[in-house]
């Protein structure tokens, strides 16, 4: 007999779907089928069942081979590395739960590390903008129930957040949106003709790197001021038409992604988009929301926030928390050669960072805690495989709209494997001994 577990949370993207159903074997050891999840989410669940999974920590040997070691030995190496470093960096945290993040923060505090999450390469710029100008936002259910203007700016949910449009933003029939998609106007701003753009009522094919100008032009158009004939490749008539479309809605939302957070202008693009949103609240109701990537990058920012006061790029080296991206942010720390040890967890910087940064952490002592084999585990001195969060262990996570959802455990991890939190507790306890703290 198999068992079906309902209301399972998908640990893939920031959409954090919580209606997944999973069929497991009678003994609870095997995950057999996944329902309701998107293709990527399904794969994430099934991947945990792969037969060639690494189940024990491994040290990289000088000859390039790996040697299996125990979790205790792995914790010892990690603790020694962190305790000896003058400026250790603890990076990642976006694909793990808030419990593990909390233990990680204790380690960072004891060893006076720099700690950062994957906002470093995605929505860190959004956070900077939010710090400059604020964030009028809402939960995803508000969009489902009320939104009649939906703008996707520099994001492609059709591929990156596959169930976003069906669960929250375009198709659902909500309390005040009983006609579903028919009640909504969809605008996509993207230099590419993406699958999302193909669905839109209006696609503004903005010139690459000119989002800031286009957003400014929308603000000018709201006020009916003078505009140049063409801005960012878009004729001014079209800009005025879209501005009117935005103003005429009852409840609008701008979703934005890495197409606009990491292109020229960066935080300023988001700053201007937030200003657009703020302006629109003079005429109607409008919100704006980052399309967060990793399923718990938002949670990492929240936990850093209430424990240290800053959402990412936190520098604890002086014994208290400091924050200033450009100085305390991971890629800057690596490229400038500021850190002397790197601990990675719940992220794959090897695949996403510039090569100059990756080269740097290949040269310093490094540990990577990850259930998968990734480019990062490949260049790290120590790889610690762990149980899959949201599959083999539960724990709290935060959706892209900051709503917390407690993930569920659906199957047992392979015999003897630790979770992120369990491994971090071993490291923390050893670090406490090494540093002589209570």
């Amino acid at each position: 007999m198999t068992k079906t577990i309902t209301d399972v949370i998908c640990p893939f993207c920031g959409t954090l779907c919580d209606d997944v159903e999973v069929v497991v074997s009678d003994d609870g050891k095997q995950l057999l089928e996944v329902y309701n999840a998107c293709v990527i989410g399904t794969e994430k669940f099934l991947h945990s069942q792969s037969k060639d999974r690494v189940t024990r920590p491994r040290m990289h040997q000088p000859d390039g081979t790996w040697k299996e070691i125990s979790y205790d030995e792995a914790a010892e190496y990690s603790a020694q590395m962190l305790a000896k470093a003058k400026k250790p960096l603890m990076f990642g945290w976006s694909s793990t739960n808030c419990e593990a993040q909390s233990v990680g923060n204790e380690i960072a505090e004891i060893t006076r590390a720099c700690c950062d999450n994957t906002a470093a390469t995605c929505h860190g710029t959004s956070l900077i903008a939010i710090q400059d100008i604020g964030l009028p936002s809402c939960t995803l259910g508000e969009i489902k129930n009320r939104a009649d203007r939906v703008i996707f700016w520099g994001c492609n949910p059709a591929h990156a957040h596959p169930r976003h449009m069906s669960r929250y933003s375009i198709f659902p029939r909500g309390f005040f949106t009983s006609k579903g998609q028919m009640s909504r106007k969809m605008i996509v701003v993207d230099p590419r003709v993406t699958d999302t753009a193909k669905m839109a009522d209006v696609h503004l094919q903005v010139e690459q790197g000119m989002d800031y100008e286009l957003l400014d032009a929308l603000r000018v158009a709201f006020k009916g001021e003078w505009l140049p004939d063409v801005v960012a490749g878009i004729p001014k008539e079209k800009i005025r038409e879209v501005a009117d479309m935005m103003k005429s809605g009852r409840f609008g939302i701008i979703f934005f992604g890495m197409g606009v957070t990491q292109s020229l202008g960066k935080n300023h693009n988001i700053d201007a988009a937030i200003a657009v949103t703020k302006d629109l609240n003079e005429y109607t109701k409008f919100s704006i929301m980052p399309m967060r990537g990793h399923y718990n990058v938002t949670g990492s920012g929240e936990v850093f926030g209430w424990q240290f006061g800053f959402p990412y790029a936190v520098d604890l080296t002086r014994g208290f928390a400091r924050y200033n991206p450009g100085d305390t942010s991971t890629i800057d720390l690596l490229v400038r050669g500021e850190v002397d040890a790197m601990f990675t967890i719940g992220s794959d910087p090897g695949a996403h960072f510039p090569i100059s940064a990756v080269k740097q952490f290949a040269h310093i002592p490094s540990v990577c805690v990850d259930p998968h084999l990734t480019p990062t585990t490949g260049v790290s001195k120590l790889h610690v495989p762990v149980a899959f969060n949201g599959v083999e262990v539960g724990g709290n996570c935060y959706r892209m709209d900051n709503v917390p959802i407690d993930c569920r455990k659906v199957v047992e991890p392979p015999e003897g494997m630790l979770t992120d939190e369990q491994f971090l507790i071993k490291v923390r306890d050893r670090v406490r001994q090494l540093k002589g703290v209570a």
């Binding site: 209301d7 956070l127 939010i130 604020g134 508000e142 489902k144 909500g174 703020k278 407690d406 209570a438």
Partner: protein
């Protein structure tokens, strides 16, 4: 557990009517007892003031909007973060401290219980994660109900029993403490960019008025017999002339009597009344209506209030009153965050500087003090700063200084740039009352504990109560040489005990205590209709499933303390 005896202190305990007598307080197994054995550890409190641990009735200290404040205000922490120190974790933040700093600061000032004033139910798991990380103090959180669709729909049809059943369910799944209303109806209106500025403005679509929501939730609260009363932030906060809306709101409590087993007497708690006591028609003729508000409350015993004192600091305002924050950002142009929450509520955050050189801020400062000084019964008026809205809670010692010393008030009035305006628009200059230590114990201990239905547990020093005790370096037998000495004495306690554990000695942390989460478990008759309605709303209008909604388990509420209420026989 260890035994202690706090000897020879000047004890102030309104619960037992002790007014500064030299007395010993004994502690055993976490409770206050009549006597302890000779082996008990002696704390010498000679020449010091001994009171119960203070009780915070209204502060925004845990949850999504507080964390939004922290995350979006790095400048609130610049150069002020504090290092790890023994068992004390790092801290940071002036107006919106980190969770650890929040717990330590409260404890060091002698507070042992605090209530988070507005929990968006959908975010209860977040609120509880922060409460878990706030050391020492016992905490509860008030879920907000005043813009909740279930409540609006039930009360439109005057279905009190269903409203009560829903409230009981929500308190249970969110581990909530009380029924909180913020701008009833107005925040739902704000979802469309609108507002309800009077108790009679209809809520868009839902065809109900704020007055009906307020009365309905008073009735539901008393139907259940909850420990605390309906706790309200009325409509029209912060606007010149808003006192009339406040009086309209207060009048809605007329005729209602408290029904509960906790010793609570009020049916309505009006919070941060300073923000609701404004006269005038614009910022130019802005004036105090503290007298009108306190006259009404003085006469009507079924109401309690807290002050919401302006502390003249740079701070971060945050409230579930979404339209107000939008209004505020229009006034000061500072960064605006807004969080509308599906089916339930909303909120906003804007930094604000209460500058002593701006006349409106100085008048606000005066109004908060006037309210405290004009209230005849200190058991019904509690000191708050509506942290962080009127100022950070860490300024309580300063507020206490202003309340206890007319000289300190005069010095501040003289320091204002627009002193004349403060004197002409308020009556602060005519008030010479100085709050006594006994009254202070009423306003910060016995009073709020009673209002919260906790009078059997905390806020006093009667044997049998939790041993929550604060010892201050303040000698009541000596005249106060300098008002600054008051502020200094109340900033850092000589000793603090929380449930019998000594947590603070000489202003320093020595233990993280045994923090609990207080919540109310109200049992009602089976109500299949309400359960069906809940099920339907989750299927149709929420963005998450009902099965994932509850704040359940060790991660969220590691050390719960439930107040049991049985309304099954009503």
């Amino acid at each position: 557990m260890s035994e202690y005896i706090i000897k020879n202190g000047n004890v102030f305990d309104p619960v037992q009517g002790i007014r500064g007598d030299k007395a010993d307080v004994a502690i055993k197994d976490g409770k206050i007892v009549d006597k302890v054995g000779s082996g008990a550890k002696v704390i010498d409190a000679k020449g010091k003031t001994v009171m119960a641990g203070a009780v915070e009735i209204h502060a925004h200290i845990a949850g999504p909007k507080i964390n939004m404040g922290r995350i979006y205000r790095p400048e609130d922490k610049l150069f002020t973060c504090t290092p790890t120190k023994g068992i004390e974790r790092m801290g940071g933040g002036a107006s919106i401290p980190t969770t650890f700093k929040t717990g330590y600061e409260y404890a060091k000032m002698g507070y042992t219980t605090a209530m988070e004033a507005a929990m968006p139910p959908l975010f209860s798991r977040h609120v509880h994660e922060e409460i878990r990380d706030t050391p020492i103090i016992d905490e509860g959180a008030y879920p907000v109900f005043g813009n909740n669709w279930f409540v609006l729909e039930y009360l439109k049809n005057q279905e009190i029993e269903n409203t009560a059943a829903y409230c009981a369910w929500l308190l249970r799944v969110t581990k909530g403490y009380a029924i909180k209303l913020v701008n009833p109806g107005g925040t739902e209106a704000w979802a469309w960019g609108l507002n309800c500025l009077s108790v009679n403005d209809p809520v868009p679509y839902f065809d109900i008025t704020p007055a009906e929501i307020i009365k309905g939730l008073i009735e539901a609260n008393e139907y259940l017999g909850l420990p605390h009363s309906m706790h309200i932030h009325p409509n029209n906060l912060g606007n010149p002339g808003c006192y009339e809306t406040t009086l309209d709101t207060l009048r809605l409590a007329e005729g209602y009597k408290a029904k509960n087993k906790f010793g609570r007497e009020q049916v309505m708690h009006l919070t941060h009344s300073q923000f609701h006591s404004y006269g005038g028609t614009n910022w130019g003729d802005f004036e105090s209506k503290a007298k009108e508000i306190t006259d009404y409350v003085n006469k009507n015993k079924n109401i309690t209030i807290d002050t919401g004192n302006v502390t003249l600091d740079e701070t971060t305002t945050m409230t579930a009153d979404g339209p107000f924050e939008h209004h505020l950002t229009g006034l000061n142009h500072l960064k605006w965050a807004n969080i509308d929450v599906e089916v339930e509520t909303g909120s906003g955050v804007v930094p604000y500087i209460y500058s002593p050189s701006i006349s409106v801020c100085a008048i606000q400062w005066a109004i908060g003090l006037e309210i405290a000084l004009m209230m005849k019964d200190p058991m019904r008026c509690y000191i708050t700063t509506d942290h962080p809205n009127a100022g950070p809670f860490t300024r309580y010692p300063r507020v206490i200084k202003w309340l206890m010393s007319a000289k300190a008030r005069e010095a501040q009035i003289n320091a204002f740039k627009h002193k004349d305006k403060v004197l002409s628009q308020t009556s602060i200059g005519t008030l010479d009352r100085e709050i006594s230590l006994y009254e202070l114990a009423q306003m910060t201990r016995a009073g709020p504990a009673k209002s919260l239905g906790l009078s059997g547990m905390c806020g006093g020093l009667k044997p049998g109560m939790d041993a929550d005790i604060a010892v201050y370096n303040f000698n009541p037998d000596k005249p106060v040489a300098n008002p600054e000495d008051i502020e200094k004495a109340f900033t850092r306690c000589a000793h603090v005990f929380k449930c019998g554990v000594e947590v603070i000695t000489n202003g320093e942390l020595i233990s993280n205590g045994n923090k609990r989460t207080l919540w109310v478990n109200a049992k009602v008759k089976d109500n299949p209709q309400v359960m069906r309605d809940i099920n339907e709303k989750f299927l149709k209008y929420y963005s998450m499933t009902q099965a994932n909604y509850e704040a359940l388990g060790h991660h969220f509420v590691p050390n719960p303390y439930a107040l049991e209420v049985d309304a099954t026989q009503v």
